[in-house]
């Protein structure tokens, strides 16, 4: 049964999807989407299996004292470190659910998660007891002020409606505050006279950056200082972002950049016009190499209209859209036929390699 059931599932799913393509009536058109969602769920489990397999292979290598065991140790530490830091979301805003806001390199505007206590914030602003609140009140929209008045009026609401109201209030506040954040510096000596500003904020005031982002960052710090109990501090970045930017990005860039050196060296050694075919390939490569740079234009732009087909960018485009296209199509048709043959073998149970070896 261990082999028959997977074979049966493969047969039913494979046949159903092929049939679904030809029957445009319920439930067949939906089958494809439904099966794709199942596939996506299985794909998530594949991540877990992949991670488990990675650990198994590298722990085994360390246990066997393989000569590359130190690389395996680095792999395990890197994998587990990134996984734990990513899952637990170290750093970033406390209200962060995903990694969207804190992961940005640029100064971020507010999201709902940044407003710790929308009700308290709107009460404080609406009361206008201090210059900052008076300033903010003047920048709140009519609908937000109306909401603030409803709170001040002590409107009683049953719980689900109240939660919804607070959510809407938070969204309205975020919208209004973001206009303030992005609308130039809000700092004024008299306005912030009663607000305790930390050393970093004072330094930013003393040396304001010229960019728009610096202005947003300073405004956020000022508002956070004025409303420490109502607005969450901006933590800048997550540790996951630090790993991504500090390790993953440079390593990825290095690996890809090395290709340029190896391509140059390999081209010099291997690209020899030893045969007629190799010569044609070499000429085509030169045209593409020059044609894919602005130099191609400068070299032959002067050619008269009847000879424009020899203009290097035109030649380069022709190579890509005629001989290259023909070759690619032939390869693609070959691959498609291969996929059809393999799929039929899988559906009919002739190809059983995916079931693993029988013990």
């Amino acid at each position: 049964m261990r082999r028959e059931i997977p074979l049966l599932i493969t047969f039913i799913v494979g046949t159903a999807l092929v049939v679904a393509l030809f029957i445009p009536h319920h439930p067949f058109p939906e089958l494809d989407g439904e099966f794709s969602i199942w596939f996506d769920i299985i794909a998530v489990f594949a991540f877990i299996l992949g991670g488990g397999n990675l650990l198994k292979v590298h722990i085994d290598r360390i246990q066997r004292r393989h000569r590359d065991r130190f690389f395996s140790a680095v792999t395990i530490v890197g994998f587990l470190g990134t996984l734990i830091i990513g899952l637990l979301k170290f750093g970033g805003s406390p209200g962060l659910k995903g990694n969207y806001i804190a992961d940005s390199n640029a100064a971020s505007v507010y999201t709902v998660a940044d407003i710790k206590d929308p009700e308290a914030l709107v009460r404080k602003v609406n009361a206008g007891h201090d210059p900052v609140s008076q300033y903010l009140k003047g920048n709140l929209s009519a609908s937000t002020l109306e909401m603030a008045d409803r709170i001040e009026g002590g409107a009683s609401m049953p719980d689900p409606a109240r939660t919804q109201f607070i959510d809407e209030l938070a969204k309205a506040l975020v919208e209004d505050l973001n206009v303030v954040l992005t609308g130039g510096s809000i700092f004024d000596e008299r306005r912030f006279a009663g607000v305790k500003l930390d050393r970093e904020t004072r330094a930013m005031i003393a040396n304001p950056g010229a960019g728009h982002e610096e202005g947003i960052r300073l405004n956020r710090r000022l508002l956070q200082s004025a409303y420490p109990d109502e607005i969450n501090p901006s933590h800048g970045t997550t540790w996951f972002r630090v790993i991504y930017n500090g390790i993953f990005v440079p390593l990825g860039a290095t690996m890809f950049s090395l290709l340029a050196f190896f391509v140059a060296s390999a081209s010099y050694r291997a690209f020899r016009a030893k045969t007629r075919e190799a010569t044609v390939l070499l000429i085509a490569a030169f045209i593409i190499l020059i044609g894919r740079t602005p130099l191609g234009y400068y070299l032959t732009f002067w050619l008269p209209e009847p000879l424009q087909f020899l203009h290097i960018p035109n030649l380069s485009a022709w190579i890509l859209s005629a001989p290259n296209l023909a070759g690619q199509r032939a390869i693609m048709i070959g691959i498609a036929l291969g996929i059809i043959a393999t799929s039929l073998k899988l559906i009919l149970g002739i190809e059983r390699g995916y079931l693993g070896h029988e013990k």
Binding site: P29, D32, G33, S36, I37, F39, D40, A43, V44, A46, F47, L96, G98, N99, Y100, I101, D103, S104, A106, A107, S108, T111, E175, N178, G211, E213, I216, R241, Y244, V249, G252, A253, M255, F256, A260, F261, A264, S265, S267, Y268, R269, F271, R272, A273, L282, A285, F286, L289, I290, R292, T293, P294, L295, Y297, P313, A317, L320, S321, L325, Q328
Partner: protein, 288 residues
């Protein structure tokens, strides 16, 4: 060792050094060439530019940090263009690394250049979902079935711009910036062809020749490598010169790439000339 033999066996360290210099010196000298958009890139620009304001554009970030120099200028030019035109932009990723790249571009383009754009109304970051082409297949019929929240975990139905999006055919245009599989080919096969949705985008230079069979009927246009990105930037700057300062990343990088290409051609010519001379000498020696 004769001169010809030396030319046939140039130490690879010399080649590496010259390639490094070919990249570094033009960068230091700020060597910038004028780039002209080719028809295959101009069609993408014209499509994005010609869509009415408020059109729904899906922009997929399907690449990782390794190909950032080629892919990021493409993605940011497309994002910038969508923002300029006021298109509702739905940002997602079929690659795990794409989400982080999208976040970086959102910060660099939208928050910096378009701070008045409202999240959830003008643009949304949907993030990454596992499943590769299976994901594209699934969102084709049921978008919100896969994306129940945005990347920050907020209910998808709470965003105004998601109100009239239920499946991929609801989009006016699909743009994908890719560096492998799943990539633009999968977007064409599983979304564009199936739903008759216009698909366009950019890929790395290595991958571009593989996509020509789809152009122009199944693939609206294609940005191939850094040159493709530079051509889109040129098209954008031609139409919107006020964005010149932020839209010249790829154009500036074309200087080093051009010189590096020339160095490679130089070495290939040297190798071939030396090879022919040596062959002729060997033939002559055999005859004697």
């Amino acid at each position: 060792m004769s001169f010809i033999e030396k030319m046939l066996k140039i130490d690879r360290r010399i080649i590496f050094l010259l390639i490094a210099l070919a990249v570094i010196i033009p960068m230091l000298l700020n060597l910038v060439f004028v780039v002209r958009p080719s028809p295959i890139v101009q069609t993408i620009f014209d499509k994005v530019d010609g869509l009415p304001d408020g059109s729904k554009v899906l922009l997929s970030f399907d690449y990782g940090p390794a190909t950032v120099p080629e892919n990021r200028p493409m993605a940011e030019s497309l994002l910038r263009h969508c923002m300029i035109k006021g298109h509702r932009t739905y940002i997602m990723a079929v690659w795990a690394t794409g989400e982080a790249e999208a976040n970086i571009s959102i910060g660099r383009v939208i928050r910096t250049e378009f701070p008045d754009k409202v999240y959830g109304s003008d643009y949304i970051q949907l993030g990454y979902k596992a499943g590769n082409q299976g994901l594209i297949n699934a969102i084709f019929t049921d978008f919100k079935g896969m994306y129940t929240t945005d990347a920050a975990g907020v209910d998808i139905n709470s965003f105004p711009m998601m109100a009239d999006v239920n499946a991929l055919p609801d989009f006016d245009l699909i743009l994908a910036v890719c560096s492998g599989k799943p990539g633009l080919k999968e977007w064409v096969q599983f979304a564009g062809d199936r739903g008759d949705i216009p698909v366009a985008g950019g890929v790395t230079a290595v991958e571009a020749p593989l996509l020509y069979p789809y152009y122009p009927k199944q693939l609206l246009g294609l940005m191939g490598g850094l040159q493709g990105a530079a051509e889109y930037e040129a098209a954008l700057v031609n139409e919107y010169p006020e964005y010149r300062a932020s839209s010249m990343t790829a154009v500036k990088l074309m200087g080093p790439q051009t010189v590096a290409h020339l160095v490679i051609i130089f070495f290939v010519i040297i190798g071939n000339v030396a090879f022919f001379i040596q062959q002729r000498r060997e033939k002559r020696a055999r005859r004697e």
